[in-house]
């Protein structure tokens, strides 16, 4: 898994350096996410890109065609073509995540993955973003995910930092205290 991440980071870094030089880093990031969404929806296309017995040239052609179809710029087309040709298409989610982290770091912002029991209102989103920005000293992009398994409240993760404001966390802590006596 760590080797996987290392490979993904190397690809992401190469792309980021090119994108940053052209001043299109954020736009390219959006196109990559769009591409990832298309591949996630289209299992057949993803299968073609990841099958080792399909010729590298064919894999490259398919990946480039998909990128063209979603209207991605030339750099993105070439990049996904290269990734598919080298048999690294199954690393694309990690590559995109690493690329996004690099763009965020470059722009001085961080992403907060928030799992919540009920969907946030806009006011709650703004308030949480503001509090997190104040706490971390960075601009925060909130990525909300409703998780019905949670009892109430939310759990936010920013990088390695986890903020547990859920009832589940409180109950877990209460269970630990009771068990410890």
């Amino acid at each position: 898994m760590r080797a996987h991440e290392g490979t993904a980071r190397r690809y992401a870094k190469a792309l980021f350096e090119l994108a940053h030089a052209s001043g299109e880093a954020e736009a390219i990031g959006r196109e990559l996410e769009q591409l990832a969404a298309v591949l996630a929806e289209n299992g057949g296309a993803h299968a073609v890109l990841t099958r080792p017995w399909i010729k590298p040239v064919d894999r490259r052609g398919v990946a480039t065609a998909i990128a063209q179809k979603i209207g991605a710029r030339k750099l993105v087309q070439d990049f996904v073509g290269l990734v598919a040709e080298r048999g690294r298409a199954n690393h694309l989610p990690e590559i995109i995540a690493a690329y996004r982290a690099m763009v965020d770091a470059d722009l001085g912002r961080a992403r907060a993955q928030v799992r919540t029991a009920v969907a946030f209102t806009d006011a709650e989103k703004q308030k949480l973003s503001a509090r997190l920005e104040q706490a971390l000293g960075k601009r925060i992009i909130l990525e909300e995910q409703v998780d019905a398994s949670l009892l109430g409240g939310f759990i936010a993760q920013v990088g390695s930092l986890i903020l547990d404001g859920s009832l589940d966390g409180q109950l877990a802590r209460m269970r630990q205290r009771l068990a410890r006596g």
Binding site: L128, L151, G153, L163, L167, L171
Partner: protein
């Protein structure tokens, strides 16, 4: 020898008296030729007696005396031998008794030592068993307590979770979220 002379004197006295009796009066000894004959008679008799009676008798007596002396010496030697053997046996018996006493004392000492060692070992083993049982019991109690606490904690949180899930309304969710947001503090 004295005995023989006494007998001879008696015979010497008896023979003249007998002669006087035959003559019908007179002294005990007649001083005539018969006295010579009587003397010769006497000497002859004395010689015969000495030859045939006294010497064999003396030899026999000496032989018996020697036999008795020899028997006495043998008896004495036998007694001395018996005494020596008795002393020897007594010494051996004493030595055996001393050895037996020594063996008995050693055996008693060894037995006492072995008994003390066994008692000590039994005591140590008993103490070890008691300590192990105590430790195991304490561990069981600790484990049971921990399990009980865990069960109580699981049960309490499970009940609380069910109650919360059942009773939580939208405004409660909003308030919980708001409280949680307000608890976010500066990091570093």
């Amino acid at each position: 020898m004295m005995r023989v002379l006494a007998i001879a004197a008696l015979l010497l006295g008896a023979v003249p008296s007998a002669a006087l009796a035959n003559e019908g009066g007179g002294g005990l000894i007649s001083l005539d030729k018969s006295l010579v004959i009587q003397a010769i008679n006497f000497g002859l008799l004395l010689f015969i007696l000495i030859k045939l009676l006294y010497k064999p008798l003396l030899a026999k007596m000496n032989e018996r005396t020697e036999a008795i002396r020899s028997s006495l010496e043998e008896a004495k030697a036998a007694r001395a031998e018996a005494e020596r053997e008795r002393a020897d046996h007594a010494a051996k018996l004493q030595a055996s008794l001393a050895e037996a006493q020594s063996i008995r004392a050693t055996a008693l000492k060894d037995a006492a030592e072995e008994q003390r060692r066994l008692v000590d070992a039994a005591r140590a083993e008993a103490a070890r068993l008691v300590e192990a049982a105590r430790s195991e019991m304490a561990q069981d109690v600790r484990r049971a307590r921990q399990e009980l606490r865990q069960e109580v904690a699981d049960l309490a949180t499970s009940v609380a979770e069910r109650l919360i899930r059942k009773s939580l309304r939208d405004e409660d969710h909003r308030r919980i979220v708001d409280d949680a947001i307000n608890r976010v503090e500066r990091v570093n």
